[in-house]
Amino acid sequence: MADDRDLKAIRTMVEPRLGGAPPDWPTVAARIERKRTAGEAGRWILIPVFAAVILVALGTTVLVLRWYGDSDPGPRGLPRGVAVEPTTSPSAEFRAPADVGPYPDIEAVDPYAMLADLATAAQTSGPITVAPGQLVYRHRVGWVRGSVPAPGATLVQTPTGPVEYQENESWLDPSGMIELPTPEVLASPPPKSDPAATLAAARQNFATNGPSVAQPSPQWAAQLPHDTAELRNLLHPTGQPGSAWGDDHDLFVDVQDFLSNAEPLLTGGTRAALYRLLAELPNLTAARLAIAGQPVVAVRYAGTAVKAGLTTAGTEEILIDPTSGHAVGFGSISGQARYQAVVTWSAVNTLGDRQ
């Protein structure tokens, strides 16, 4: 409409309402902090129940959370009684307020020799068997640590929030690895999305475009190449717009994303080729450690990006079972938002089944 008289009239009408200003950031940050603290207090009411379930199911014990030492939480520790946690925990770096290693429980290893060993182990690792009509069940256990920016802060490089234990399960349609909303999710839609509509859109996309890196299927995954150059081109095609983190970092994250979505569908040959592809990247590190009680090898890529004139650092990781060669977890363990999770997969008959 070339005639904007209506828009001008609207602006004239609302103009007298536009006085004032938003509250200053410290005021809002303080409200966020109060609400977050109140929310945590409420959440932890459920923890004793959760802990009891863990005790019965796993036959393990629970401990009061002590992130900064085995005997003395010290002045940097979380207040006592804030959280109860399974005995398992994320890796040591995750607990630290800053990247201050080295850590005695982490054994650094040669990443390239290790990836070669992992590729050998992966060669005989197959996909899970998903019969027609079955779903893929995914169970994730992990930790997150975020930031609540301090009043006046413009960029936070170190997480300031508490370490939170989280557990998550989902059921996926193997055709596209499309997450199916549970009845609970359908009953309480989040404010900005409609789970049923999201599911319909994902299915429509799969029907229109077929299986892909973003929406793999068992049949598609079974035919993936075992050649690193072909896999690189599939996951991170040449000429694809890159991020501020650079091509090597982007490729590592692409492999990480792909494994987090398609791992249970991959043949051993493809999985091994992905590890060989990772070994083509420079500046990798690797370490043997235990996460959630499980011995793993963490293969890591530390990158930096310059955004708005500020340098941000981040370390992405893929956790691999050294015996089976399966990728069993993922993480991002430096910078201002961290997570580390281990994942298990299985084929189940219906939504709600766990085995």
């Binding site: 409409m1 005639d3 008289r5 209506d6 828009l7 009239a9 609207i10 602006r11 004239t12 009408m13 609302v14 007298p16 309402r17 536009l18 006085g19 004032g20 200003a21 938003p22 509250p23 950031w25 005021t27 809002v28 940050a29 409200r31 966020i32 609400k35 977050r36 929310g39 994730r140 992990g142 997150v144 975020g146 930031s147 609540v148 920016p149 301090a150 006046g152 802060a153 413009t154 960029l155 936070v156 989280q166 998550n168 989040p190 404010p191 900005k192 999305s193 409609d194 994303d257 987090s260 708005a308 941000t312 993922f330 991002s332 910078g335 201002q336 938002a337 997570y339 999770a341």
Partner: protein
């Protein structure tokens, strides 16, 4: 709540302070246009509270952080829909906007032509369906692009264009009364 995914690290790596500096003034202007400047202060703060609590839901592939924030703000405005519509009707009926402090309102009344026009616009806007009013004000006041509005409201681009066309047609029809009156 789970953040095991790319979304967890998406919203400017959680740098809410930076997001706030960039978007709070525009959000305040938009909220104030709908519920007045006093309530807008609360709405802006509530928007960032909700953003912080739900930042794992932010998907940068579906829209910008700005659009996401305006979507949250619009949802919050809906909780005050009655206040918004009541104020529009009052302005249409009396020429006095209850969402404007009195001294300013008096000044507005003095601007007779502008006031008459505002009364007509207010009456038309009070009659608009919620979605059309959302789209119209996100376009006219927040000055978002079609695609940003679609992302903010989580609706197709075509729905934005359709809603905007219908809303503007109604406002323009109302304004014709000023030419005939």
């Amino acid at each position: 709540v789970t953040v095991f995914g790319t979304g967890a690290l998406g919203v400017g790596n959680g740098d809410l302070a930076d997001l706030y500096a960039r978007h709070a003034p525009q959000l305040h202007r938009y909220c104030a246009s709908r519920v007045g400047s006093v309530a807008a202060e609360d709405l802006v703060a509530e928007t960032f509270l909700a953003a912080h609590a739900n930042w794992q839901a932010f998907d940068s592939e579906r829209g910008t952080a700005q659009a996401w924030l305006f979507g949250i703000a619009t949802n919050l405005v809906h909780r005050r829909r009655r206040d918004e519509v009541r104020a529009l009707r009052a302005l249409a009926r009396t020429g006095v906007d209850p969402l404007v402090e009195e001294s300013h309102a008096e000044r507005v009344i003095a601007r007779t032509d502008a006031n008459r026009l505002s009364r007509l616009v207010a009456a038309a806007m009070a009659r608009l369906p919620d979605r059309q009013r959302d789209v119209l004000l996100l376009f006219a006041v927040a000055e978002l692009e079609y695609a940003e509005i679609a992302a903010a409201l989580d609706i197709p681009l075509g729905s934005v264009q359709s809603a905007l066309f219908r809303a503007r047609t109604r406002i323009r029809a109302a304004l014709k009364e000023t030419q005939h009156g």
